[in-house]
Amino acid sequence: MYERGVLTALLAWPLVGALLVVAAPARWAKYVALVASVAEFALSVPLWWTFQPAGGFQFMFDAMWLPAWGIRYTVGVDGISLFMVLLTTFLVPLSVLGSYAYITSRERGFYALLLVLTSGMIGVFVALDLFLFYVMWEVMLIPMYFIIGMWGGERRLYAAIKFFIYTFFGSLLMLVAILVLVVGVGQRTGVYSFSYSHLVTHVGGLGRTAFWLFGAFFLAFAIKVPMFPFHTWLPDAHVEAPTAGSVILAGILLKMGTYGFLRFGLPLFPAVALHPAIQAGIVTLALIGIVYGGLVAMVQPDFKKLIAYSSVAHLGFVMLGIWALTLQSVQGALLIMINHGISTGALFLLAGMLYERRHTRLLDAFGGLARVMPLFAATLTLVSLSSIGLPATNGFVGEFLVLVGAFPSYPRATLFATTGVVVAAMYLLPALQRVIYNPLDKPENQALPDLSLREIAVLAPLVACIVWIGVYPQPLLRRMEPAARDLIQNVRIEAATSTAVR
């Protein structure tokens, strides 16, 4: 019962929650939303224990949806998507709780949209039918667009439409590619189906078309990641979005891009993905992202913008790990995806807490906060260190695995990427210094209250995860290993056979 129904329940429950939020009186909206999102998390927790660390998809559910076009409602998770689902359900209650002080107008709309967004994100990660995937991929655009556009900062309209158009552009080309893929496979096998497993097993033999199709998928995912040079929407969206929007955007939406590469980009077009020129190009872009993101972050006066550019750098590591395609590097990439969600989510929440106190995000407006806000300062320090990748925090494990795993395939690139870790220290530590150390010389800062109980409740789970994954990542690695191993094997075998055929 749980096995078959859980993913559908995870998809449907936030929508029910959204209806409840809209139906409730406005002043209860935030409490209803919190209860709904905690319930969603509680519903997802048993996945962790009931998931069998073996290859293949689990918790599958399959039903006919649009028989005329061979479209089915198929959902399931494997060792890759499991963590994305858990990360989503984990971050949403925290961002709901973190929005209590920030969101003061039209609360019902905000929390309802946040819950609808949750449903869309879960849908992206569990969909095993390309049509369903595409629909979910698009559907979650709208709530995010409204969240940025209605509750964002001063340039929210610009940021919202930029976010929308960038993503919409990439995904529509992916839609055409999906159709060409399905029709191409259908003409050869006689079965027109959007089912993921069908397409993965019969995708070989597309020849040169595969390059075009991969290009369309690549564009959609690279914009979402975002990879250099498709990243320009990200700083705007992050800076203008309300805190919860930034947390979700950085924590989960960006992972959809890298998840897309793992789930679709590599397995559907192995021969293209392993083509030396394509590989070299993508690894180069990832490296540029790592170093460029770090360097640009260094000169940002705005705290949120700094975090936004640091995301570009972190996601560069993920792309490097995915494209190195060794067991360690892929596991490391998956770990960074999780860690980035936790650490960057925490950073955005902390930046939001500062903003709620001072209504500015400029680093220069602060200084010496450690004296008035010791708890805040301690948390910010720990989270920043985890984002830099200090050993014994979660950030270290992921980056270390990526670098170790990538070294055999790309020694020089890995060497280059290592500088990214140094750059990370160079932008986060000075920022840390400017905010919480330095003299407490601004009168406005002298009476700032320390973290409230609610804020502690928001941050404590994140801090716990940072330490836990940093010290003992084994339970995560064990669960993702079979899926990562299968992925690498399938891609390598498929690529080898299709090159042989050619």
Binding site: L66, P67, A68, W69, Y134, V135, E138, V139, I142, Y145, F146, G149, M150, R156, L157, A160, I161, F164, I165, F168, F169, L172, L173, L175, V176, L179, V180, V183
Partner: protein
């Protein structure tokens, strides 16, 4: 039920929807000649014509349900394609009539003939889309056009409305001239005006390269190009849509266009299916219409003109399945026509409600903050915009998806790519409406005081918005309908090599 057109009773049966609707039009005409004094009389005429539309709908359903078909081809087709398009026209006319009930009252227009003209135009559409003979198609087109010329200018006191009517009349007459001259040339080349006979003549005598036939075909295409407002024959559309009373604009942008598309599809596939020459022409028409329509719509500031250009852009999308010209193409065409009709009528009904003192001047920015005052109305308008944009979860997406699928299966991937890229452009003018509604503060407390959707129009819009969402998730029944109806017109393969299309793929 097999109809033998040699027997008068069977002719009557085959034409039952048209006969019923014509009779209803005459009865309503008698009614308004007798009672035309008060607004109440006018509403009575409206409800009477709705009853007539309903009766015609029952007739269509009866023929469709009994699987009516003709023993031998006649002047009017008896097939599912005709019944499906008839149903579409009737639904569009009924929705227009419902919205007009309150609109005419509010605008102080005392013109009960309005409903008679609406019924006549609908009869014309049904003949046009069902015509198996170029002459019937032409007669239907004229009946429809002349009625709509008057409808466009029905608000005599408004100079813009008069200008729209005159412009529409002049260019419409011009287009009819092209069409009739094209028909004459086709007749000259093949000796017949019956669609299937033309197809047969072309095949048996190898006329597909004949100059007279090709010139005739080109002129026919120009005539239809005017009617569907395809670029470069679209110049009249924005001005006419802008000036006509808003419910009439909705009717013109949906039913009139749908009728022209249905007739175009039937003529091209039955008469000219063996001629390869029109495929590249339609390909270029579709491309030009999608690109120009979307780009020009970006520059519009008023809602009504924006919707006018958006309907030009949608004509481009609708040309794609025609250019593809496969069985899947006809089903996609029918599905998209239905989806587009529903959403466009709802959008124009909402526009009529919002722009209470002159919807021509209503700029997109004037919608600012409307969501706070009128949350339901704003939600409906936002759903309409998303559906026009083709966003998943709405029927507009399924429609575009179907067209894309047909294009991909028909090896027209480039056309599909142009369609999605221009759709991205269209986000640039549909989204500002949503932004204004939800994300901008209202200029003043009283800015939206008088915005009110009438009761009947409210029900229509609510039903349409709900249908947009429901059909966006479960379109199965409608897809089946489009498939079975679309496949009732056989598409002969082009005799020339498929490489003749510009895509070359």
């Amino acid at each position: 039920m097999t109809l033998d057109f040699a027997r008068a009773a069977d002719v009557l049966r085959g034409l039952l929807p048209e006969v019923v609707l014509s009779a209803a039009a005459l009865l309503v005409l008698l009614l308004v000649a007798w009672r035309h004094q008060s607004p109440r009389d006018q509403r009575l005429a409206g409800w009477a014509s709705l009853a007539g539309l309903l009766a015609a709908g029952v007739a269509v359903w009866w023929l469709w349900e009994n699987g009516a078909r003709a023993a031998a081809p006649g002047m009017v087709a008896v097939d599912a394609f005709r019944f499906a398009t008839d149903a579409l026209f009737l639904v569009a006319a009924a929705l227009t009539a419902l919205v007009s009930l309150e609109y005419l009252d509010r605008e102080g227009l005392r013109v009960p003939e309005y409903y008679v003209l609406l019924l006549c135009a609908t009869v014309g559409m049904m003949l046009m889309a069902g015509g198996e003979d170029l002459m019937v198609v032409f007669l239907g087109l004229e009946l429809m056009s002349i009625s709509v010329y008057v409808l466009a200018g029905i608000n005599r006191r408004d100079p813009a409305s008069a200008e729209a009517a005159l412009k529409y009349f002049l260019l419409g007459a011009f287009a009819s001239g092209f069409l009739v001259y094209g028909i004459a040339l086709v007749y000259g080349a093949t000796g017949t005006t019956t669609l299937t006979q033309i197809g047969l003549q072309v095949r048996t005598h190898g006329l597909e390269q004949g100059v007279m036939l090709l010139v005739g075909l080109a002129l026919v295409l120009v005539g239809f190009g005017f009617k569907v407002a395809a670029v470069p024959f679209h110049m009249w559309a924005p001005d006419v849509y802008d000036g006509a009373p808003t419910p009439v604009t909705g009717y013109m942008a949906t039913a009139v266009k749908a009728a022209a598309f249905a007739a175009l599809y039937r003529v091209l596939s039955e008469a000219f299916g063996g001629v390869g020459a029109w495929r590249p022409i339609v390909w270029w028409l579709a491309t030009a219409t999608m690109i120009a329509g979307n780009l020009i719509a970006l520059a519009q500031r008023t809602v009504k003109r924006m919707l006018a250009y958006s309907s030009v852009a949608h004509a481009g999308y609708l040309l794609v399945p025609i250019a593809v010209g496969t069985g899947a193409g006809s089903a996609a065409l029918l599905f998209y026509l239905f989806a587009y009709t529903l959403v466009t009528l709802a959008a124009f009904a909402l526009l009529a409600a919002i722009g209470r003192d002159g919807e021509r001047e209503l700029r997109i920015d004037d919608l600012a903050g409307l969501a706070r005052r009128r949350p339901w109305l704003s939600a409906a308008l936002a759903i309409c915009m998303l559906s026009l944009l083709g966003f998943p979860g709405t029927v507009g997406f399924i429609g575009k998806w179907y067209i894309l699928l047909a294009a991909t299966a028909g090896r027209q991937v480039v056309l599909g790519a142009i369609l999605v890229l221009t759709s991205v452009v269209s986000a640039g003018y549909y989204l500002p409406v949503i932004m204004a509604l939800y994300m901008q503060p209202e200029p003043s407390e009283a800015a939206h005081a008088g915005v009110r959707l009438g009761r009947v129009a409210g029900v229509v819009v609510a039903a349409a918005a709900a249908a947009l969402l429901v059909l966006g998730v479960r379109p199965n029944a409608l897809v089946e309908l489009a498939r079975s109806s679309g496949s009732s017109i056989a598409v002969p393969a082009p005799l020339t090599a498929p490489g003749a299309t510009p895509t070359g793929r």
